[in-house]
Symmetry: C2
Subunit: 100 residues, 2 copies
Amino acid sequence: MIRNVVVGRVREGVPAEQVEAAIQALRDLTVEGVEFRLVGGQDRGLREGNAHFALTADFVSEEAYRIYDADPEHNRIRRELFAPIAASIDRIQFALPDGG
Amino acid sequence: MIRNVVVGRVREGVPAEQVEAAIQALRDLTVEGVEFRLVGGQDRGLREGNAHFALTADFVSEEAYRIYDADPEHNRIRRELFAPIAASIDRIQFALPDGG
């Protein structure tokens, strides 16, 4: 299994509701033929200097992740909802231990 | 529940084995009185420009996370194993949906 991790920082003045709407769009995203479990949210303010939002999504295989990554609706959400609010976005995919 | 997410990039020339050893030290970490599930790994190379390593750790409460965050052995691992290899580290904690 593969865990995709996205961590982002938002531009000055972006309201929390707008960040939440972008995250919710990904929570609601379905991709034909790909099962995945996505959770995400905004920083809880427990430490200084934290990033502002994060998403993690678990996939059964690298191939499943690639289909998700290339999905048109996923990329529309990236373009229209995340690109306008993000000052920076960092991504990584790593292997989960067997049994995820 | 709270998910702690850490995403990092390593300095030029740091061998993968050294990164793996640092991650393994956190996999092996136990913190008295705090149950948590930590998974982590190095980037699988599925996309250009990805970060190099990531960790996610799930806690039952913000308080549990705070104890983990302040734990002496955890901070030794940070100082001795991660600080020397990391060019950058970004962190965030967000709330998991009920039933995590």
